[in-house]
Symmetry: C2
Subunit: 155 residues, 2 copies
Amino acid sequence: MEARIDKIKQQLQSQGYKLTPQREATVRVLLENEEDHLSAEDVFMLVKDKAPEIGLATVYRTLELLSELHVVEKMNFGDGVARYDLRSDSAYHHHHHLICVKCGAVDEIMEDWLTPLEERLAVEYNFKVHDHRLDFQGICHRCNEKEAKESADGK
Amino acid sequence: MEARIDKIKQQLQSQGYKLTPQREATVRVLLENEEDHLSAEDVFMLVKDKAPEIGLATVYRTLELLSELHVVEKMNFGDGVARYDLRSDSAYHHHHHLICVKCGAVDEIMEDWLTPLEERLAVEYNFKVHDHRLDFQGICHRCNEKEAKESADGK
DNA sequence: TTAGGTGCAAATCTTTTGCAGAAAG
DNA sequence: CTTTCTGCAAAAGATTTGCACCTAA
């Protein structure tokens, strides 16, 4: 974890930015919640535990900055708030979501399924892909299992 | 076009809703601009030509209603506004976007590339897919061609 | 006549910005 | 010192809501 923070510090410094205590606290929250897709408000509340004096505007500014540096990915699931995800090297470009319409959970899958499609896009549409995003809406394995269990119980 | 409006009228009526003049004007704007991905504000301004007395709130309410009925698809490209797309039967479920990071254009491709992946999701992740969304960010064919031309001109 | 619809204005919610002071090199 | 950063409060934008009136079965 410290190694990853150091790396982000270097990324910031190479562009003339500082890793201030507020930014570090924000990054730590993202690191500690890598599984989730936190909104700015979520991050703000978690950061407040570490640094109670921080302002929401600073969180927004930090997330925006990290987003520009491609340290986090800013995304939008259509619920009116932007969500932010730490972008580990291996996740880069191979990062899809399974969004459960029943319980709201967002799971990630890290397989790289789209490279062949991107090649087709270049050839057939003359479109040079920089990045992509693939989300599936449906019923997650937890809800499927729960339902299977309930109907087995004769419910 | 009238046939499609009739169909939407039936969809509304089957749920107890009416196709009012305002709603019809809104649907017509969507039909006439099927290639685009209009924001609520865009729709509002276009609808005003047909029905100047309409209010923005009505447009929002109409788009929301049509969205619930799956007549339009509400989506979000990360620029802070929701965009709405008429959902033709054939487009249903096979509707991907090519978003140009240079000029901002959003093109659509209608191929069905994901069915095999959805089968894998069901088997490997026990995830039952209802819908999906696939967006590519990159450079569109227009920008690619323009750039090719400019470098050919020795620019 | 009754439920559904509408326009308007006000309210709400997320995100951004201006500014004066604080921190870091 | 000078640039970058911060917190606060205000502003901005998109969307939603309350309400009184309207309209069609």
